[in-house]
Symmetry: C2
Subunit: 303 residues, 2 copies
Amino acid sequence: MDVDTRLLRYFLAVAQEGALTRAAERLHVSQPALTKQIRQLENLLGVRLFVRSRTGMALTEAGRTLADRAPALLAAWEQALRETRETASRAARVLRVGFLASAANEATQRIIAAFSLRRPGWRVDMRQAAWTDPTAGLADGEVDVALVRLPFPGQDALRVRVLFTEPRWVALPEGHPLATRDQIRFDELWDEPFVAAPAETGAWRDYWLATGERRGRAPRIGAVTDQPDDWLNAIANGYGVALAPESAARFYARPGIVYRPVTGVSPSQVAVAWTPSAQNNPVVQDFVHCCLENTPPPHDQPA
Amino acid sequence: MDVDTRLLRYFLAVAQEGALTRAAERLHVSQPALTKQIRQLENLLGVRLFVRSRTGMALTEAGRTLADRAPALLAAWEQALRETRETASRAARVLRVGFLASAANEATQRIIAAFSLRRPGWRVDMRQAAWTDPTAGLADGEVDVALVRLPFPGQDALRVRVLFTEPRWVALPEGHPLATRDQIRFDELWDEPFVAAPAETGAWRDYWLATGERRGRAPRIGAVTDQPDDWLNAIANGYGVALAPESAARFYARPGIVYRPVTGVSPSQVAVAWTPSAQNNPVVQDFVHCCLENTPPPHDQPA
DNA sequence: TGCGTGTATAACCTTCTGGCATGGATGTGG
DNA sequence: CCACATCCATGCCAGAAGGTTATACACGCA
């Protein structure tokens, strides 16, 4: 009786959403594909998991039983996966470092150099993560340690140390009325369309839309992108504006886009993060120390 | 990162056998198929799990890590599967009963009738198991309770009550020199070719070859079968002889085959078995009581 | 040199999965 | 009362994946 973790993920999504249509959306597959997969899972087990109705899909008792156990199964698999990868990188003397585009920026060079001095036999494998994964691969076990920006979903399950903070600016298309101003109040941007991160990034998306600083007004979404390049294009083409760390003005300068300081939004925090299981990995800890020693002050307190 | 339990099973088989060729045999797939699957698993994880050599496949450190965790993952899945199916059958008021061909024989009718009286609202779903599964579906969660013969592999993980015992006889082709004898000593059969169960049935196969009563002499295998019909044909066609419970003489009588009593082999035990998790399932316990009350004596002690 | 024991590759077939378009059932609002 | 929105199910097609057989390649050994 062989099952794919994919089937379990699909099943859980339907169980949680209570409807094929919404679950399909969340999973980025078409609704007919989900219909077929769920039916196949039921056939495989020989058990009806849902009762169908016009209002959606409701779990049967048996479905409830499976839905209760599936999350632990998936988590156990993820855990085994992480540990396997960690063993591999340790055996090969490779430290896998994930980073978000424009996370630590110029500090990165210094950190790597310092780490190379401290661990001469080790190689550093830098991996840039897509924006859809604000943990930069840490959640999947793709990397041992990551340079990230706070806050992000799942942050509580990881160990985090803040390295420094940086003001958030706004990126505007060149011809925008506000583009000539030296400084902009955030409330002036409330009604602007924003270029946003995909919905599945949750708290991350909200943070860069600054929903907390809008006094309850919903943001307008002009476009959704998940890569730096798409993001820049969307802004340059006038689909919307976007908040970005100050350093983006240097690292993502491009004709057609201007960056301006914004008041009234909290600064962005750059941090180094690792998994609890790497707490006792001396190489990871060495890297963390190199981060702390090669970035400007406010990195005393854990976040 | 989606994985199939099949991939984990394949991986474990190769890890345990230390060679693709032998593992492929055990898994009943071709060696090239296994080669591809293992490579795919490695690509999926981005980790080398084995070092290849002419002498076989040796686990890497990372492979060792995964091999240590995989059995628990598979067991957890099997457990969830069993519980889900059990919930389903309980909700539908169906008791799924597995049985081996010729397990309880004539007693079966009485047991079912008694159970129907005790649990009027319930339906009994009888499922005959293939000989390749001496647990009659209990191990996979296909059934809630099973009528089996002892001993079988995995018996210790289940709850078992012996119902009665039955002498083992021998089934011979009609023209066989011993076919005219009233009674046969087992040592007279030591050099006969036997019709055996498939190798993967382990202790079950050994029991019906009576390897324990051969004083260390290896049995001769004349044919391997996994269905009653094949088994009867193999014997009738003279590929070998086979031990069988006395009742087979009634239930599997057929021209070309004679059954004769054998001395020097222990009797076969017929038992009812259930999983530890069904220990508190009152319906299963009712069925067990019906078994005990509708079979001849020696069912006082748990086996 | 030929054989046995390993793994890898090639060519081919079948099954599975996903996407799109569409159908059927059932409420809901103008 | 009809048009529309919201569900899930079905049919059809393309591409990917798993399986099989035949064969290649590497090596130790008689």
